[in-house]
Symmetry: none
Subunit: 194 residues, 4 copies
């Protein structure tokens, strides 16, 4: 009801500053000293809140905006997935967020705390949202009763991450459509499946 508490102000100032700097020089060259200096804050004030650069960065990235990646429900599961995948590709594979997200995942590879926090705060909610939408579709009969929702999610997500992190090929709308078509129309090895 009343004004935001003093310490909260600093927390947000620091995260915003960290994000700004990360956007300017990249996560690798981000330094606690620079964040402290630009934020007009003592280093202790940062270390009191985050034990490492990695977790500050994670917090800064994940707190900075609402992802806008919630699933709509137009009644057409394929259209809805297409919509969210497109938005995700636009957001996470393009500047300014793309490099930050890549760095976050890069850091997670050798930092269990970051890996855990990233999973808990971003991957799992996003996964749960997708699975919920798929579940509704299955209940509405748009998907077969034995449709493997978990696997479907990974088949849709995996290739996108593969392109983002490994081959760095662009993730186009056409590619998303190919993926969706393969998943929902079946990728039968023979001309006439079944």
């Amino acid at each position: 009801m009343n004004a935001r508490r003093r310490s909260d102000d600093r927390t947000e100032t620091i995260m915003r500053t960290a994000l700004d700097l990360a956007l300017e020089v990249g996560y690798a060259k981000l330094s606690m000293e620079a964040v402290a200096a630009r934020a007009g804050v003592g280093k202790d004030t940062i270390y009191r809140r985050w034990p490492s650069k990695a977790l500050l960065f994670l917090d800064a990235v994940l707190s900075s905006r609402n992802t806008g990646l919630e699933h709509p429900d137009t009644g057409d599961i394929v259209a809805d997935l297409r919509e969210v995948m497109s938005r995700a590709a636009d957001l996470l594979a393009r500047p300014p967020w793309g490099p930050l997200y890549q760095d976050l995942i890069g850091e997670a590879q050798h930092n269990p705390d970051v890996a855990a926090a990233l999973n808990q705060r971003f991957i799992q909610p996003q996964t749960a949202d997708t699975l919920a939408r798929l579940k509704v579709a299955k209940e509405q009969g748009q998907l077969a009763p034995d449709f493997d929702l978990d696997l479907a999610f990974e088949i849709l997500s995996g290739p996108l991450y593969f392109r983002l992190l490994i081959t760095q090929q662009p993730i186009t709308q056409a590619y998303i459509d190919r993926l969706l078509r393969a998943l929902f129309a079946g990728m039968a090895p023979e001309p006439h499946p079944r």
Copy 2:
């Protein structure tokens, strides 16, 4: 024809030392100083050969062994893919190689040189090998003429990397089988696709 040249010895000594140290303390805590000291080599001798820690590490990891991930051809494309995917999962997602491979990919996220070298020296050959095997299968009529080989490769690889890098769920034989079944038996959403 005669004994290996002196400088080659050093190159290999350094790479082996770097690899040993990386296995002991992890890539993040690997230092050029430590490599030089343990290898009994001047730091310049390292910098003369590699421009950065990242590329030395990449070289050390990729040169250290033959991957053994070439595709067999038993005539059964699914069995052959299953075999290679299992071997890859065993090799790349488990200690001692798993963490190193993860670190390599992590480093690639903010280091274009590493990303390029990793692609060129590991990902692309591996991709080409798989695609070649798939092409043979298509020519033998095991796959439909319009079967999207590139996409198939990414649908098989993507989810494995997703689990390795993002969710850190285990990559079991059962999971590989689920993936292969989905891809080759089709994942029709409705009982009677099309």
Copy 3:
């Protein structure tokens, strides 16, 4: 008239704590934070009373005890001086007071406030006491009318401080006797002075 006021209690608690800590870790490693923490007192409560660590320390040392260095008057000026000098050497050049006193003088070298307070609160009273005793002796005819009292005091004190602060040689009873003998029997360079 009634019980000591609350704030006085704190003042003494703080000084006592400062003294304890100084005895344990030395003045150089004494910190206001540590004093506050051990005294169970806020830092402001200390700063409200003393403007700096140095002046708190000075207060703590000088308030902690009565020196017991007042001059007796047995009628024998030499014996009386000998007595006081011995007591001073025992007190100020030996643990636990010696190191504290040395630190105080050390601090005074670059802190005019400490230098002034030390002079005013310890050195000058002590000097005045000695000079008063010498004056009585002169009036009693034990000393020549033109005996230079001020200089005599400095000749007695200077060498003691020289040993305490500079050469760190022990100040023995024998040394004090040598000093007194030199001063009162004369240190004639030639067999027959003048």
Copy 4:
């Protein structure tokens, strides 16, 4: 014969810089960071040579000049002592050297390394020089055979240090003369000594 070695240059640069800074801001506010920055040198380069600010400062002060406090020998011991004491008072009790010397002695009060080095490198040589001059005088019959040389030195030095370090009274030529007169003419307690 050939040019000064590189590392020697840095050693001297650092000492000179430390001395300059000490003259500007005083020893208490001298910081290793500031020395390094102004000398254009990494902090490690300083720490490789001196383990602490105190020892760097000591080295800087003691190496910076020849004291010029060697004893002349005009044949008149009193005149020679007077000469050296005057020069010492001018040098050590006046800016710019006075404050530095005071700080050095101040630091020595809680730093045994500094105390030892100061004694060994400055006090003892100076003492030895004075005693040698006194010894010559005694051999020439200017001083009585039982003249206590060591004590004489301390009676001459002690009061000067007492004024410098404790009471901060000025050390005038007149004061030096009073001291010398007292020592050599005798300070008889009675009107007619002996």
